[in-house]
């Protein structure tokens, strides 16, 4: 709902705005905030940098924007090295956390700012500002000051200000961070729609996995300054390549296993199965999501699974969470959707077997 389709820019912009980060590194003294980050972003792509607080997302984004100098490595935009170009000559749109709207300027003045800095003629500035403000439905609030507007309105001003000079790339640093939950979800959709309409490359920093998964073409998960995995949201969730990624995105059951000559041996010697399993022998971890962990009451004989008994059930509205303890003392969680009135759900104390489809399980050696 945010933007009317901009036919002009949607055809042009998708050919520019490719970004490449090559071995980017940022050290603060002995501490490495960003460690050998390499990443290619296609023109028009929506990519998220997802990671816990302190993982180096903002630092990475600020190196792209030109506010931090990398200790080593390069930043390329459309093949051009901009690593040492000052920020005001980079032509990248940035949306800051808490928006950084200029408090002494009205909405219209804020949005006109980048055009004035580019020395554009007054009449041209006025038309452009009016057009973009109409697009974000802020035409009526042109003469308001930032402190007279709601969080959602401020965000639109920030978007309008970053888009008005038609940069090929938008960099967003936790733009929804300061808002309440309902508004976040609403604006999340607006930004996604916006992305489809303006077809600009977007690099979106967030620590909120739901946001990253819902909005992005690809997600880059960061931890301790490194990118641990870059994949489409489904793959991040279904095929984590890294224990950190598995644990950070969504809930996960971690089962310590041993690999020996092609078979996966569980904690109590069970024979387990997983579709994604590396070659080789040794200690490893099997990951399976709670919603993929099925509970069979122990009456039926099941070939592959882990025996245990139910230690707790929690009703959470759309689902019921079962906690079980295996014979080897492992705690597992199973999530069962309350789709229909349950017939015979196990109760606390019941013996059971936890099973999964092999394609829902991944074994990681890291």
């Amino acid at each position: 709902m945010l933007m009317r389709t901009q036919s002009r820019s949607s055809t042009i912009a998708s050919e520019t705005g490719g970004i490449a980060l090559q071995n980017l590194q940022k050290r603060y003294g002995a501490f490495t905030a960003v460690d050998q980050v390499s990443l290619s972003v296609a023109p028009g792509e929506f990519i998220s940098l997802l990671g816990p607080s302190g993982s180096g997302k903002t630092t990475t984004l600020m190196m792209i924007a030109g506010f931090e100098m990398p200790s080593s490595g390069k930043v390329l935009v459309d093949g051009k090295d901009i690593t040492y170009l000052p920020p005001h000559r980079r032509e990248l749109g940035v949306i800051f956390q808490n928006y950084a709207l200029f408090p002494h300027m009205t909405t219209a003045e804020n949005v006109a700012y980048p055009l004035r800095m580019r020395g554009m003629a007054k009449a041209e500035i006025e038309t452009r500002v009016r057009r973009i403000l109409d697009q974000v439905h802020l035409g009526a609030l042109a003469s308001r000051y930032p402190h007279q507007m709601s969080g959602g309105q401020q965000q639109r001003v920030a978007i309008a200000r970053a888009l008005v000079f038609d940069p090929p790339v938008l960099l967003l640093d936790e733009p929804l961070g300061a808002l309440d939950r309902k508004l976040r979800e609403h604006l999340r959709n607006e930004i996604k729609t916006l992305h489809k309409e303006v077809a600009k490359t977007m690099i979106y920093v967030t620590h909120d996995q739901d946001e990253a998964l819902a909005m992005s073409d690809r997600v880059a998960v960061m931890h301790e300054g490194q990118i641990r995995q870059v994949s489409a949201p489904q793959d991040i969730y279904r095929r984590p390549e890294d224990l950190f990624v598995a644990g950070f995105v969504g809930e996960v059951n971690l089962v310590p296993v041993k690999l020996s000559s092609g078979s996966i041996v569980g904690p109590a010697g069970e024979n387990l199965s997983a579709a994604q399993c590396p070659k080789g022998d040794g200690d490893a971890t099997l990951c399976v999501r709670p919603e993929n962990l099925h509970i069979e009451t122990a009456t039926r004989e099941v070939s592959a699974g882990i025996k245990g008994h139910i230690t707790g059930t929690t009703f959470v509205g759309d689902a019921t969470i079962f906690e079980l303890r295996t014979e080897a003392g492992l705690h597992l969680t199973s999530k069962v959707l309350n789709i229909t009135q349950p017939k015979t759900l196990p109760a606390v104390g019941d013996a059971c077997i936890a099973t999964w489809h092999p394609q829902d399980a991944t074994v990681l050696t890291k």
Partner: protein, 588 residues
Amino acid sequence: MAGTVISSAVDHSAVVQASSSVRPTRWAWLLLPGTIFLVVLFIVPLAGLLLLSFGVPDWSLANYLRIGDSPAYFIVLRNTLEISLAVTALAFVLGYPIAYALTTGGAGLRTFLLIAVVLPYFTSVLARTFAWVVLLGRNGVVNEILLQLGLTSQPLALLYNRAGVIIGMTHIVMPLMILPMFTVMSGIDKKLLRAARANGASPLAAFLTVFLPLSLPGLIAGILLVFIYCLGFYITPALMGGVSDITITMEISSQVTEQLNWNFASALSVVLLVAVLAILWMGSRFFPIEQLLGFSSGEANSGTASNRQLGTQYLMRIGSAVNKLDRWLPSLGGRSVPILAGVLATLLLLPVLIVAYLSFSDSSYFVFPLPGYSLRNYENYLSDALWIRATFTSIRIALLAAGMATVLGSMLAFGLARGAIPGRGAMVALVLSPIIMPTIIVAVATYFLLAWWGLQGTELGLALGHTVHAIPYVVVIVVANVRNLNPAYERAARSLGAGPWATFRTIIAPLVMPALVVASFFAFLSSFDDVVYVLFLGIGRITTLPMRMWEGIRQDISPTIAAVATLQMTLALIIVVVGELLRRKKHS
């Protein structure tokens, strides 16, 4: 010394929630003693001044007409204005880089700058003026250095002329200029500068279009405070000016103490007072002055936005033009501002340090560099009965004043913070006025009143005058602290079975005590360093330490004064450090 107030406002910006519709609480009774005190010893004297200026009981405008008629007084007014404008402009130009670097610089630089601003500030004006007298004299340190470097063949006349006054005054008002600017600048979100850069502004354009307009209230406040301070400044012009640099304060003093023409002195004082009030009124349209002093009024900033609009527009145009030139302008380099600020701050600190250095001389007159080190100046001070007696007089008076000011001021602070009285703004103005009004006017007015009561020339009378001046410091420090004192603590104590007195003893007193101690220290210091009140209220009868220094500087400039000034600075340093430690302890 208004710096006590401002530097404490640096940390505590918003203070008290004003509620006009709410009925006064019982806390409001605490306002009574302090208000009565200020009315009797501040408002009544000023009213008396006004009456005297009209020649009461025979009402006439003769005194004002005399100011208008005589070219001599026109020159006095012009001198005052010229010196004040020059000093304000100079202090602004030199102070801005320091304030800017104080906000944006690295941690090490910021600490150094803060010390360089705060330390001279808490050193008494008299000690700092003395430093300049020593530095700029015919055989002073500056001439000594110039001669030795061969930059000049004979000593330059730097003292007892316009240049000397302007140099000395500028140095003394610098902190007063820097601290309000710094207060406002440090409230600016640094991300806004990044946003400007991301939107295509060069560093200079970002500064002009974002930082400068947002720091404008602080600049205006600094400029106003300094200008007002200059108009009413007495000590430095009197000690460093030449015969042709008579300012209005010097004229007032001479009319009171030499010509004994109280009516005419009153008229001159009223002229000065009106000028100050007019400037304050204009300033308050741009910036709520009391907010700068640590009081916030709920609707701050709302009415002032439109006034700033115009300036912002101009800066926008300049910024946009500068941006076009960006590619051709030489890179200004990020280092030039910190380096400039560092140099300026060193200059700020240097006079004070040089006096301390000279105090350890083993020569009986000032020589630079020192021929040898000794403690003879300190020994001379300690063995001179007159100096020692003056010291004890100062201590007695300062203790008395600090005691009265702490009691009255802290009651006022609680009343203002918790009292919920109507007309709170006027109360705040009354309480803060004694440090904004030129000291000499208040001193002269009090002098007339005490003379009438027969208290003139007594230590009690002088302490009463000092108390008026010290109350604002106490109020600002304590109010900032009461803000941290959540009423929920007291309710919790009451709910747990503590009566009102037990609540006060176990909750309020321990929480407020550090602030009271700090406040009383600063009240003590403000009395201990004063010389203007003594000149009038103690006239010929009381010799305090600053009074002896004053006479010494006027007569023989003996090196003993360097020792006394150094001791005075050390005392100020100790008070600042102890105050800071108490503040830290409270926050940890």
